[in-house]
Amino acid sequence: MELEPVIGLEVHCQLATRSKLFCRCEAGFGGLPNSRICPICTAQPGTLPVLNEQALELAIKAGLALSCQVRTQMKFDRKNYFYPDLPKGYQISQFDEPLCEWGEVAFEVEKGVTKVAKIRRIHMEEDAGKALHPDGLASSLVDLNRAGVPLVEIVGQPDLASPAEASAYLQALRRTLRFAGISDCDMEKGSLRCDANVSVRPKGQKEFGTKVEVKNINSFKNVERALQFEIARQGELVARGEKIVQETRSFRDTEGTTVSMRKKENADDYRYFPDPDLPLFDVGAPRIERLRAALPEHWLAKRKRYQEQWGLSDYDARVLTEEPATARFFEGVVAAGLAPKVAANWIQGEVLAFLGETKGDIEELKTTSAQLRALIAMEEGNELSHQAAKKVLRRMLESGGEPRATAEALDLLQIRDSGALAATVDAVLAQETKVVADYRGGKETALNALLGRVMKATKGKGDPNVIKELLIAKLKA
């Protein structure tokens, strides 16, 4: 019997707000333990939550970027459970009325084959803190810096048919959220977290098999590893005629396996109920429409536009829409007046190559798109040779700086003054009598050899057009 896996992902994504969801503490990554806390996020008795509207707007944008329906009225619910990293003894979340529902993610299964997976819901919630259990310490420690940080949970339908699809889906989802400015989606910093629901069933069967939830998948690489292991494990159980138990399992990075965390019978009853501290919140259709209108262009739309409007190749368009900062930089150069194709070549050939070599981050680029445009303008104006322009750009990428100042510092500006070049031309002509004779004897290509000699003598800085004119004039004389 051939089995097929059915996969759905639940993704938690940290919203890129300055402050937490219900208080004004800093929400960013890092900080000394318990340095970003206040009476509210430590659940001091008597404190109350007040919604951070920036977080709400980012959550709405997430829904819009993923083509969801967004609710115009919203409520929060309490999810009750005890754990030391959960200060209030409940998490403020959304239960039966999520902010956004029924969206979709388009992703590429293989080159040219696109598939669409549905999103069931997106809801807002606050993060818990972090419980630490250091070796050699009899007690546990709690860091509440993360407690109250705003998240959206994006629950996908079980539309994914393989670990590779799951990975491609997650990449596409991540790119969409990053391009919309909703989150940096950095799995290493925990601003993107992924749990997977996996089951297997005989190929062709409509009913789902028993679902297992896999948690603690903390990198893109592990999405595929965890799913591959889990699908194989379930396949073996089926092959042995054993039942699959509905449970939550944890992925172990070092072994590449999953281990049982809790069975369904022991599942928590979270006793959800509407949070009486947060009354019905009027999101408002006008707000949704304002955010929809202001939504940045979807990366797939950019990819299409780069090809159709700007004539880029599929490959170029892909590379330039990999990261929001790359697209921003590229569009900046084009907006400054450079032909898109030329801009694409420079960015791929020089900027991205440099970042690849130095393992740099485009977000931290030392050169602006305006500076790159100015540099290329110098080449177009024959102030720099193509090779010199590349050298100047390299220096700019390494150390920052304006193109002209950098070119001057590197002494790479072209010599275009015929007076300054005449002496060199005379000297070469005097030296290369054989080549001069060849040229005068009708061998046209000999001119290029002479040009090369002069260029060499000027260390590449002479303007070849000026030199050529000088040579012709002097040879005819």
């Binding site: 008795p45 008597g46 404190t47 109350l48 309490r78 200060p87 003894g89 409940y90 006793r271």
Partner: protein
């Protein structure tokens, strides 16, 4: 009864204190010293307070006197000591909610109402006793000993704001803050013979009020008379951006003109049940007669859902409380119980330190919210709550306010109901409906039993009618012409 000569005249009202302090005829320090002396002398009998720090009180008074000496005499409560229920956070004093689980806890911030008291020139006099986490109607459920009614020390002061009501009645403080979830301001006000207002839900910030049942909790003023109650309400009321359920203008403000002429007073048949003590019934009937004599009209009507208010109320409050009290886990503050593992620590902390009534309500609420029971209990209760709100709305189409008794009986003896939670819950029969609908309600003294036990009458109005209720109560208070000065000493020792 004439005021006895031992206390200065200004002890009869907070307004008198403000006037005396502002004019310079009495120093804030002298006011503070008077109340501290009263507390020192008589509170061992009454046990209205859980925490009083005389040095800190005198320091606040001295700071005020220094300000006044510089000519800074602003502040609606200038120099007035205010007793604060111990479920309101105030920097510089513990906040325990009368629970051993918060023993020694000192909040790092002031509740909004406390902040507003301080800004108005009031002195935070001390923290008053309550039923643990405001769960009770007698102040016997305190983890630190019961409060007694200063009118008869063998009887309860009511609850849960029993400490605040007793403090005002006993002359320990001219004003007090309480909190009202199902009657916790009005019922003790009635049993102690003082005025207590439960404001419209949202009229007063809950920020810094330790939550019992968030959708019903409201901070409310207690005072010797209606004018003082109004004064305190004006200081603590108003929108607070730190409380998402607070609303601007919910208080309504006072109304001008004759409050009684042409007033339509609804008299619900359900408030005249046979269970009502005849003395209470007679006292309320007298209020009705006085109102009519002053030009009001009585409108008999029915509120048949009143009988469902208590079960509805107890499902809502226990559900919310089970969640609100989850934070008391021994992890971040308060005493921590010893356990060999996490659940052992939780068990030792919560099992060892919550009182029986609190545990009972947490268990009831946990049950009501559980999968499989949610629809039958919590959800059903919310539906009935909606119906009760609609029934009130229909009543207020026929009348302006509702009048009735605050409690079925005067103060009952200590211990009488403490073994029977259901009997205790029935104390809330007249006070629980209004909170379910978010309505303002006010209890004011309307007489005494022959043995001297106070009786309270209750006015209820539509949302935002707080100011009007106060104006009506003030007019009735004049008609009643009772002696409203505080006791010179507790009775029945």
């Amino acid at each position: 009864m004439p005021a006895t000569p031992t206390s200065p005249a200004w002890t009869r009202s907070a307004r008198a204190i403000v006037a005396a302090v502002r004019s310079g005829s009495v120093r804030a320090r002298a006011v503070a010293d008077h109340y501290l002396a009263r507390i020192e002398r008589d509170d061992p009998l009454v046990h209205a307070f859980l925490h009083v720090d005389p040095a800190a009180v005198r320091a606040q008074a001295d700071a005020l006197d220094a300000r006044i000496a510089r000519g800074e005499t602003a502040g609606a409560l200038l120099g007035v000591p205010v007793a604060v229920k111990d479920n309101l956070c105030a920097v510089g004093s513990p906040t325990t909610c009368a629970s051993k689980i918060l023993e020694g806890y000192r909040p790092p911030y002031d509740a909004t109402v406390v902040e507003r008291l301080r800004a108005a020139g009031a002195i935070v006099l001390g923290k008053t006793n309550l039923d643990e986490f405001a769960m009770g109607a007698s102040t016997e459920n305190s983890g630190f000993g019961a409060t007694r009614n200063p009118h008869d020390l063998k009887r309860v002061p009511g609850g849960s704001s029993g400490g605040s009501a007793a403090a005002v009645a006993a002359g320990f403080a001219p004003l007090a803050l309480g909190s009202d979830t199902g009657g916790s301001v009005r019922q003790p006000a009635a049993l102690c013979g003082v005025v207590g207002l439960r404001p419209t839900y949202g009229a007063v910030s809950r920020y810094g009020l330790v939550a019992f049942a968030s959708s019903l909790d409201q901070v409310g003023p207690l005072a010797l008379n209606v004018d003082d109650c109004t004064l305190l309400m004006e200081v603590i009321g108003g929108h607070d951006p730190r409380d998402s359920t607070s609303r601007a203008g919910a208080f309504g403000g006072p109304t001008a003109g004759d409050a009684l002429a042409g007033l339509r007073i609804g008299i619900p048949a359900e408030y005249r049940s046979d269970a009502l003590d005849p003395q209470v019934r007679a006292a309320v009937a007298r209020v009705e007669q006085l109102a009519v004599a002053a030009g009001a009209r009585l409108v008999p009507l029915e509120l048949p859902l009143t009988q469902y208010a208590i079960p509805t109320y107890y499902l809502v409050v226990t559900s919310e409380a089970s969640s609100n009290l989850a934070r008391f886990d021994g992890v971040r503050y308060g005493p921590r119980g010893e356990g060999s593992d996490l659940s052992g620590m939780y068990g030792a902390t919560r099992g060892g330190r919550f009182g029986d009534e609190v545990k009972r309500r947490i268990m009831l609420g946990t049950y009501a919210l559980s999968a499989g029971y949610f629809d039958a209990y919590y959800k059903k209760a919310l539906q009935v709550r909606e119906c009760i709100g609609r029934e009130f709305a229909a009543a207020f189409a026929q009348c302006d306010v509702l009048l009735g008794p605050t409690t079925p009986t005067p103060a009952f003896p200590l211990g009488e109901k403490s073994d029977d939670p259901v009997q205790m819950y029935l104390c809330d029969v007249f006070t629980a409906p209004a909170p379910l609908a978010g309505l303002p309600a006010l209890s004011f003294p309307c007489g005494k039993t022959p043995t001297g036990l106070p009786i309270g009458a209750q006015l209820q109005g539509p949302c935002g009618s707080d100011g009007r209720l106060l104006a009506i109560a003030r007019a009735l208070e004049r008609q009643l012409a009772l002696d409203l000065s505080p006791l010179e000493a507790p009775r029945g020792a």
